[in-house]
Symmetry: C2
Subunit: 240 residues, 2 copies
DNA sequence: CGCCGTATTGAGCACTTTCAAATTGCGTGG
DNA sequence: CCACGCAATTTGAAAGTGCTCAATACGGCG
């Protein structure tokens, strides 16, 4: 299952066979977590990072009065808390949106990597910078896009990200989360998300039902959302 | 003026005198830019990054119909597009909010640094990860906080960040930007920002007038905003 | 003194939330 | 196979929050 991670990295840069071996050796352990499990807590010193092999994770922050904002969702192959290696603890928590399979990467191995493999270091640095680019696009959604556009934009983004690792089939992909989860991504109430979803469905753009997203009209959906995938940096550019 | 940058780095990690020399040698050139100037355009390949020596910058994305979302503001000592080193081009533009003094850091020098100085590489990696942490907090503001809380939170954040480099005096600091600029940070209209500012002023919490922010009651302001500075990672932790 | 960008204010409107209730879907146990 | 229970979804109505449009005031500068 680590192949998806390699697939992801190779979408952006060249990874030599020797480097692939280094990457495979980063993993110390594998675990399975049920949906709803907390993978990493906020504010606690961390000594390893988590590679998502299968399933979907969410990073979120809680506010008073039970409000919650999900700041990012993760798809298989992502390295959701790689930034924990340099930050030493997370400013947010990570939870399983679905049942997940994760790999544990001790920071001491990452440290050794940074000492011996400058190119791989830059590859992973790139990975965290890409993560930040997605945060920025979410800021735009949360700050400026309408509820309908936000939902449409998220579906476009997930479509693009999941397509990269072959998890889109016939314009549809699994997204086994609740409308409440979705509302926490979009900065809306679940009630309103429900109404937006109905609108998008009735416009024959996209449907999200029983854990599956089906995109009926990708061009019109992208246009509605003003989706421009440049921020996902999908072209392959050697990091030198 | 690069001292502010060193001050910033040393707030988070130890920088040896030898490393300081390496950092100083990163700079190839210095420039002054007037308020309103575009420092970096979106989507254009970049071969250098920009260190902010003095003034304030904003990173933003434009949408259709002239809407704009500022995704981050930068204070002296920041390295606003350091991530351009690994991403090779920016997904957003950078503009001067005020008159600025910037330093040019060619990517070839950063590349040499990553080959020879693993610790400094991690220090700068940390710097970009911290940048992402601020993005996340902005996502929370934009997604879940009320207009009043958003404004209050931004003032708390800037207070904390400017205090770090000695730019806060008597609970007030210069913020020579317009209410329209502010509204583009907060995901609001300038009209509404104006009303929120009046409210905050009449509550004796904070005033923002003629380019100066004066915080009258920091504890209550923090409490209103639910401001928790942990995401700024202000403790000093050696990155090994 | 007059101009222009910025700040301020008002009124009406639209989108989103809140609160509450009804419905659906699904796994468990009888 | 059906009844039950719980979670998720759906719907309605009313209330807010923030937006739009438009007009007015302010302040620095030529």
């Amino acid at each position: 299952m680590i192949d998806r991670h390699l697939q992801r990295l190779r979408a952006h840069d060249e990874i030599s066979p020797a480097e692939e071996l280094v990457i495979r050796a980063l993993i110390a352990d594998r675990r399975r977590c049920r949906a709803g499990t907390t993978v990493v807590e906020a504010g606690v010193p961390v000594s390893h990072s988590t590679l998502l092999l299968d399933g979907m994770l969410a990073r979120y922050k809680d506010l008073d009065e039970g409000q919650r904002q999900i700041t990012q969702v993760h798809v298989p192959g992502d390295f959701p808390d790689l930034h924990g290696f340099v930050l030493k603890k997370l400013d947010q928590a990570i939870t399983c949106l679905t049942d997940c399979e994760i790999a544990i990467v001790p920071h001491e191995r990452l440290l050794a990597m940074t000492q011996q493999h400058p190119h791989l270091t830059r590859v992973y640095w790139f990975h965290t910078a890409l993560d930040a680019a997605i945060h920025r696009e979410w800021e735009v959604s949360l700050g400026r896009r309408s509820a309908q556009q936000r939902a449409a934009h998220l579906f476009c983004e997930l479509h693009a990200r999941l397509d990269l690792i072959g998890l889109v089939e016939d314009s549809s992909f699994a997204l086994p989360i609740t409308q409440a989860d979705l509302s926490e991504c979009l900065g809306l109430t679940s009630v309103h998300v429900n109404r937006m979803l109905r609108q998008l469905r009735s416009m024959d753009l996209v449907s999200f039902q029983s854990g599956t997203v089906t995109i009926m009209d990708l061009p019109r959906l992208k246009s509605l959302a003003e989706f421009d995938p440049k921020y996902l940096y999908l072209e392959r550019l050697p990091r030198r």
